[in-house]
Symmetry: C2
Subunit: 430 residues, 2 copies
């Protein structure tokens, strides 16, 4: 029997639950603390406890490990979790999707909230209730690298449903950070006439770590959802590596730039919409105001799209037969000239090919160098200043909305949700 099973059964036999104070003893060592829930990020051979110092410790367990119950967790925690409601405050909806931010523990009391519901999530940052009322539920529980177009559709409908009730002012979507930019872009294209802010939020470090950004991010996201009149899909994340302010990013212009740092998300080729510091929202960029009417969902997507990163030695046959191809070219929008015949062949067969740049910052311009001009002549269209990720999501959406390649191309070249900025502001730096 694997170690994990042995431990699980031992805990069960002893009636030990998450939140109980326990002692774990191995041959030479002894640890006392509150049992924390098992997370997606924990190894299977580890029990995690919160020590009296407030720090968490992962204790390796084997068949000889002894676990003893010291004290059951107090039910008072549960009682405190009745949802407050204040008619004078705006109401937000929290729709959980999983990710690091959903691996949740109250960061001050140490009480455990295994966020099996988005409600738990909201509760772990009680300051949220000073700002707004919270309606919370879970749409799905996924690590974000597994989220696909079908999930984007589900989410779009959930968001519209909530915004189309009278009570809900804005929506917060806790989401894994890996592909949060893709989901934000997808919702930006799918949701029409937003009647309130739709805010994606994540955590780079789960809340059982002293350095977690989960609480600040969630509070900031809730504040934006409750207090602003932005009618766009947004991403709210840490602004810098210390705990000062959070940044509001437009959903089509944001990208994750660091594997672990808390200020990993950056707006590319535009200014960010603003900041939140100590509960105060400061707007810096122009935005779409929320509409008064009904939110509609336009979620048709053609998933027959591939994205391809160009590099020295890339082979023509690496470009698959698809209805849409997003190339992540070099520099101003180039690929090895050897690929040209294959690209010409695809376009002749009605594939729509869009060029973006692996530089990420700056605009594609295929008029400057000969390869670019050859690609333009072949019918490749410029992704302008779009992120490759956004161009990929948009191409799926455009293929389902254009009747023929020319219509699809027109959609791709038209700004729909802030993804193309015709003139980049000079204060938009690298």
């Amino acid at each position: 029997m694997p170690v994990k099973k042995v431990v699980e059964e031992k805990l069960k036999t002893l009636g030990i639950e998450v939140g109980d104070v326990i002692i774990i003893s191995n041959k030479d060592e002894k640890w006392e603390g509150t049992l924390l829930p098992h997370h997606a990020f924990s190894s299977e051979e580890i029990l995690t406890i919160k020590l009296q110092s407030g720090y968490n410790a992962g204790v390796a367990i084997d068949k000889n490990t002894e676990v003893t119950l010291v004290k059951k967790h107090q039910e008072t925690t549960k009682k405190a979790r009745e949802i407050p409601f204040d008619q004078k405050k705006p109401t937000i909806s929290v729709i959980g999707t999983g990710g690091t931010i959903a691996c949740y523990i109250d960061y001050r009391t140490g009480a455990v909230h295994p966020a099996t519901s988005a409600e738990d999530l909201a509760f772990s940052v009680p300051e949220i209730f000073d700002v707004c009322n919270v309606k919370a539920r879970v749409a799905f529980q996924m690590l974000s690298e597994n989220i696909e177009a079908s999930h984007w559709k589900t989410l779009a409908h959930e968001v519209a449903k909530d915004l189309n009730t009278d009570q809900v002012h804005g929506v917060v979507i806790p989401h894994g950070t890996d592909t949060m930019g893709y989901t934000a872009a997808a919702l930006s294209f799918m949701l029409k006439d937003l009647s309130g802010p739709v805010v994606l939020v994540g955590a780079q470090r789960s809340s059982d770590r002293p350095s977690s950004d989960a609480a600040q991010n969630l509070f900031a996201a809730a504040t934006v959802a409750a207090k602003t009149d932005i009618g766009e899909v947004l991403v709210v994340m840490h602004g810098e590596s210390s705990d000062t302010f959070s940044v509001i990013h437009r959903g089509t212009k944001v990208r994750k730039f660091h594997t672990s740092q808390r200020n990993a998300f950056k707006t590319v080729n535009d200014v960010s919409l603003g900041t939140i510091e100590d509960g105060t929202v400061t707007i810096e960029g122009a935005y779409q105001k929320m509409k008064k009417g009904k939110v509609t969902v336009d979620d048709a997507m053609d998933e027959d799209v591939a994205m391809l990163y160009s590099y020295p030695g890339l082979k023509p046959e690496a470009i698959p037969d698809r209805k849409g191809i997003v190339l992540i070219g070099t520099g101003l929008g180039h690929v090895p000239i050897k690929l040209l015949p294959r690209i010409q062949e695809l376009i002749k067969n009605d594939t729509v090919v869009v060029m973006t740049s692996q530089c990420l910052f700056g605009r594609v311009n295929m008029n400057i160098y000969s390869v670019g001009r050859d690609l333009l002549k072949a019918g490749v269209i410029s992704g302008e200043d779009m992120l490759p990720e956004t161009a990929y999501v948009k191409l799926m959406w455009a293929l389902a909305h254009g009747k023929n390649p020319d219509e699809v191309k027109n959609i791709m070249m038209t700004n729909i949700a802030g993804e193309i900025v015709k003139r980049t502001r000079s204060d938009t730096g690298l």
Copy 2:
């Protein structure tokens, strides 16, 4: 007959050459200036002239355009181009490869140097001769998106040949910016026991534009090649958008981050080696000192490697059968779980699979989340803090140097040329 041909023949008939003062008249307009060479970045229907104001103008031509010769270019320019030699100064070698930086005109005199030779290039920044003697030649003339492994090999041998003569202190390689990072990484792995600095340099804007960075970059690169004792492959480019300083980057840690801005190159996951301002080099990072002995070339490469960008909806069959695969995963090093069986199959067939991150900044860590642990179990190796581009080049090199997959993996996980930094310095920011 296409316009270009018409114009070319007209110029030929009139005996007009690049450097001559001409008048171009269209129906309503008249332009006088010095004829500049036709560049890869000019449209075919444009003649470019340098006006008396010092600015360049591109004049659209058609069949009715009149061109008149005003004055032949002065041969004094040519006489001034005898190479000076000063025994007291160090000598550098300039090995041209093409790119924007090779589209060259003297930025102050307006005299034309169509850089068909690297010598011309050096001459267009005469300040270089205050610092060093220059030996110059052209290895090849290419737009960098077409450069492949065979060119890296050629370059490595050219560099070694030059450094192994007594006279040459360092080497400067003008190179297109699109794939300069790949070439810099390749040379870093191929060149052993460097007896002097090897400096790649490029231009984001060609020298016929007032905003060109060609002159500053070339002067800075020559200074680093002539004056420092660095025994590494480097990239020297603009440090900020104004013309103040240039930055010295390690060849394995640098990447182009902007399609057009002059400060497009950034060191990732390390501090840059230093800066050059007004001819003064300031070293800030640790570096490998140049060796006294002979430079050797270890250029074996196995090009059977593909690089793959992960995204929602990526299909397992998109991963080709190759000896090596570099995945550009999301976040800490993840791909959709649907790809796992295909990755397992490849590894069983002795493919070496390396994980990097599309975040670019930060370190891959597959121990944190379940997908990462599944990939580790399958035998995927961590690219640590390596750039995807560097990991790709290194994997080609490693496959040609390891006898079996385990040896290749060991090479990939061992720092060879500064590409893996075990502990990222805290002042290495995003």
